[in-house]
Structures are given as C-alpha cells and as structure tokens.
C-alpha cells in the first residue's frame, strides 16, 4: 500500500469517527458494573476455599504417570465438590494425531491434529475435539508466537459442564503451566506434530466449568510470558456460542469458495463457504453483488463425512416471508446428489470442491422443504441417503 492509500485510509477513519459526538461517560453505570465484577470475583475466590485444589505436573516425563494411555490422576481428592482433572501423558507416536487426552470430572476428551480437507491435493490442518469439533490451525502463526494461539471449547449440553483447550506454541516453548479459576494448577507438555507439510507445537488440556485463569509458557525453567483468557470465555451467562471453539487470536480465513448460486422467488443468490477462525461459515448473498441482503451461519469444522452433513439457513425477507437454504458437506465419493422435496419434485445437485472438501447448496421455494438427500457415486450408484434434515423452527 502506498502512502496515498495510507493517508486516505487514515483520513476516512478519522472522518467517520470524528462525527460520532459521544456524550459524557456514564460514570455511575460503569462504576456499578465494575463493582459487580469485583464482587463476583470475591465470591468466586471464597468458593475456591471449599474446593480442593488439584495440582500435579505432567512435565516431569512419561515415567511420572506410567505409559501413555494410562490416565494420570491429577485430582484424586475424595471430596464431593472437588474437580477431577486427568491428563494422559502425551505420546508423540499416538495414532490419529492425538496430542492430548484425559478425563475432566468423569468426561473423557481427546485432542487430535487432523487434515480436515478431503483427499489430496487438499490439506487443511485442524485440531479435532473428540473427533467431532474442529478448529483450524494457523500455519503462519508459529514463527512469532510468544504465549501461543489458544482456543477454548465449552460444552454446554453435558453435565457436569467441562471444556477443553489447545494452543499453538512457538518452537522454544518447553512446557506450559495452567492455572484454573478454581485455583487448580498443573503443567502441560507440548508435543510437536507434523501435518500438511508443516510442523506444529501443540499443547492441550481439559478444564472444569469454572474455566482457565492463566496460561504461562516456559522455556526451560524460565517463564516467558503469562496469558489471561478473557473472562467472558468461561462465564456461565456468557453469550458466547457453546460447543464451538473460541480462539484468542482467530486464524485467518484459510479457504473460501462459492458453493452455489441461483434464483429463488425472482431473487438471484450466491452461497459461499469460508473455513477460518469462526469455523465453517456459510453466507448467502441475495443478488450477486451482495448489496441487497445477506445471512450467515457458522458451525465447527468437522471431518469430511462418510455420507452427508447438512444444515439449514433461513432468511427472513422484509415482506415477512422466509427463504430457506440447505447446505453442507458430502462424502468425497459423491459425484452428485438428489434432493427430494416436500412438493414431490426432485432436484439434482453437483457438489463443489473447496479446500478439498465437497459442498452442496440448495434453495427451496416458499413452503417447500427438503425431505431426503441421496448421494450417488460416479457410476450412478446410490451409496448413502438421509432423511435427517434439520427443519428451521419457524417452518
């Protein structure tokens, strides 16, 4: 970018914000909120007294807790309210790219580095939690990481609530010390993983619902930097989406592509998928230039399915109607698919490849929903079919 462009950028940003005309600071409201935060923290700190601390380091080596695969209890207190956090000793040779695993409050978890693209030539490195929920690794992040690029995942549905975290670390980091919000402290041993022609240094752990207070990266015996995740990441009343990864420094969008286009009720539309820090995001733009409206939905990145993985995206029109799109991923074997619709018709769709993954997109007319999706291979054989297609609530 040349200096003229930089000057224009600076000028336009200033012009835009100069006209804001902010009023006086809402002093009382801010002080009230601040006092409430203090009070919550004091309450949390007091409750920690009743919770037995769980502190065990696993950085001392594999022999500390036995061979890989044997859970190493780091919380063994027989106290009814104690959290139990178990970290298995990392095994760089573990199959399936597993670099961290354990059990938190009785709930097992496993973190694995996997290629979530389809068959070659695509390669998209990601970390999968329990083989389901993926988060892309940022290939460019490794060189200048200090404390690491950390991602957190909170389980909303399960009881007790637990979470898992992983971090991409700089090559100099030899261990990581984690302090949970309930006072528990433990160490995590990073593992180097090769994937997609890149080398990643990863560390992962599980945590109870209270969340993580700090993460410290060590080089030998020397702590290099301390990181505190935003409090809202673990707040029970947080509006953060549960069951999706929450990155501290979201990876840049790794791939994006158009997966469908057409006309519905006279309105041209285009649907694009983007794989990046927010997961797998689908965005529909009404009218090709995207100026007349859009809707989007994101979900965690999954491995390419053996069959089909479908979600829906409704769009409320200004006139009160609802347009509806179906989209998702299909098996790499899929040459085309047929959608059986509620009006008795069938639509043939050819999947589009983005980042080695096969996608489809379908728009339905007013009042019509998809009933069945059937996948066909190149020889025309139907090899998978599903009627489990989500229906939007206002249908």
């Amino acid at each position: 970018m040349n200096s003229t462009e930089e000057r224009v950028l600076r000028q336009r940003l200033h012009e835009e914000t100069d006209q804001l005309g902010t009023g006086p600071a809402p002093v009382d409201a801010i002080l009230r909120r601040g006092r409430a935060i203090r009070a919550r923290r004091r309450g949390a700190a007091a409750s920690c007294v009743a919770v037995l601390a769980v502190t065990v380091a696993v950085t001392t080596g594999m022999q500390a807790f036995g061979p890989p695969g044997n859970p190493a209890p780091v919380a063994g207190q027989d106290h009814p309210s104690a959290h139990r956090v178990i970290l298995n000793v990392p095994d760089p040779r573990a199959p399936g790219g597993v670099f961290a695993s354990g059990v938190t409050d009785g709930r097992p978890w496993r973190l694995a580095a996997r290629n979530v693209a389809g068959p070659a030539p695509g390669c998209l490195p990601a970390v999968m939690l329990n083989s389901r929920d993926g988060d892309l690794l940022d290939i460019r992040a490794g060189a200048d990481l200090i404390v690491g690029n950390w991602a957190f995942w909170n389980d909303a549905g399960g009881q007790p609530r637990t979470g898992a975290a992983f971090g991409e670390l700089g090559s100099h980091v030899t261990s990581v010390a984690v302090t949970l919000r309930d006072g528990t402290r433990f160490a995590v041993q990073p593992v180097s993983v090769s994937l997609c022609g890149q080398r990643f240094r990863l560390a992962g752990f599980g945590y109870p619902a209270s969340g993580v207070r700090t993460i410290a990266a060590y080089q030998g015996d020397r702590a290099t930097v301390l990181y505190s995740p935003p409090r809202g990441t673990f707040s029970p009343d947080s509006a953060l989406p549960a069951d999706t990864w929450d990155n501290t420094a979201a990876a840049s969008n790794a791939a994006s592509g158009l997966i469908g286009a057409g006309t519905v009720r006279g309105t041209p539309w285009r649907l694009r998928v983007t794989l990046g820090g927010d997961g797998e995001c689908f965005e529909v733009a009404l009218r090709p230039d995207g100026t007349s409206g859009s809707a989007s939905i994101c979900r965690p990145i999954g491995m390419p399915p053996a069959g089909v993985s479908v979600i829906t995206l409704p769009y409320g029109t200004p006139g009160g109607g609802v347009l509806l799109w179906y989209m998702g991923t299909v098996s790499a074997r899929t040459a085309y698919l047929r959608a059986g619709l509620s009006d008795g018709t069938t639509t043939r769709l050819v999947p589009v490849v983005v980042a080695g993954r096969k996608y489809f997109a379908l728009a339905t007319a007013k009042g019509v929903i998809a009933r069945r999706l059937t996948l066909y291979d190149a020889a025309g054989h139907a090899f998978a079919s599903t009627t489990e297609i989500p229906v939007p609530p206002h249908r």
Partner: protein, 182 residues
C-alpha cells in the same frame, strides 16, 4: 479506599471515554455497540484498577481489554442476518456528498471483515495513530508481527471497494489537517 479508587478512576474514565468509544466504533462499525463495549471495558478496568493504575501504560492496558471485549463479541455473532430491503438500496451511484459517506461506510464495513487481529492493528495504527511498537504493546505481540499483519490487512482493504478510488480528488467533506477544504 474505594472512594479514592472511584475518584482516581473517574478522572481516568472521563478523559478516556471519547477515545475508547471511537476505538470501539472503528472495530465494530456500530455506535451503540461501541458505547456498550467501551462501558464494559472500563468496568473491567475498574474491577482491576489497582493493577491498571500500576501498569507501565494504563492506556495500552485498557485498549487491550477493549479489543478483547470486541473480539469476544464478534465471536458471538455466529449467526447473523442483514435484512436490508431491496427497495432501500440505491439503483445508481450516489452523487456527492453522499458518496463520501458511502466511501467511509464501505471502509468501516471492509475493516469489520478483517480477522480480529488485523482489524485491531488497522484501527490502532490509522485511527489511534499509534506506532508499531505501541500497537505491539497493546496486542501483546512483536512489532514485526504488527507490520506483517498490517501489510496483509491493507492488501485486503486495497482489494475491496473501500480504497478503490484513492487517486480521485475528493468532492466534498472536510479533510483533516487541511482546514476543511475540499
């Protein structure tokens, strides 16, 4: 003790409020969201005021809180809808001075599309006019990272319509530092 804290913090807050709202607006593009985030950031700062006050650079500390709050908020917006009626959209290119407003809005929209870190770097660099070292201190990264991320961000902005006509003379609107002349 708390009363003294409140007094200290009150002075800090009064002087920083407009700047923090402006920064949040640059990051979010929404005035009301910006005020809410600035409030949340200042409340968080007040909760740890003893730490903020003793920080080497309290402004950098609070900016960092605000940027984290913005990022959290953006992450929450997993499902979005932008139901603009087609009838509200112009059929043809607008004439000045609305064009200028449109360009600025396009720029803010383009900045919002950047990944969180790049967005923060652009706003801190070009709106807050911080040096690369100061931006690095706010974001907890190296100055080299700031420069490389800024370069990527600017390349993306150049690819959008937001800076498409930077060679063209401006038709309306004040220009900072030039006495408001066109």
């Amino acid at each position: 003790m708390e009363a003294r804290d409140a007094d200290d913090f009150g002075q800090f807050m009064a002087s920083r409020w407009p700047g923090l709202v402006r920064l949040a607006y640059g990051l979010t593009g929404d005035r009301w969201v910006a005020e809410d985030i600035a409030q949340a950031a200042l409340a968080s700062a007040y909760a740890v005021w003893w730490r903020v006050r003793r920080a080497d650079d309290p402004d950098a500390y609070v900016r960092r809180i605000l940027i984290n709050a913005c990022n959290s908020r953006f992450r929450r917006r997993r499902v979005t809808e932008d139901p603009r009626a087609m009838a509200e959209l112009p059929d043809s290119r607008l004439a000045d001075p609305s064009d200028i407003v449109g360009e600025r809005a396009a720029l803010i929209a383009a900045v919002r599309q950047l990944p969180p870190r790049q967005r923060a770097i652009v706003v801190l660099r070009y709106l807050e006019d911080l040096s690369d070292a100061q931006v690095a201190a706010v974001l907890g990264c190296s100055a080299g990272t700031v420069r490389s991320q800024a370069s990527r961000a600017l390349a993306k902005l150049r690819g959008s319509t937001a800076l498409a006509d930077t060679g063209a003379p401006r038709q309306a609107g004040p220009v900072p530092g030039q006495g408001g002349k066109p």
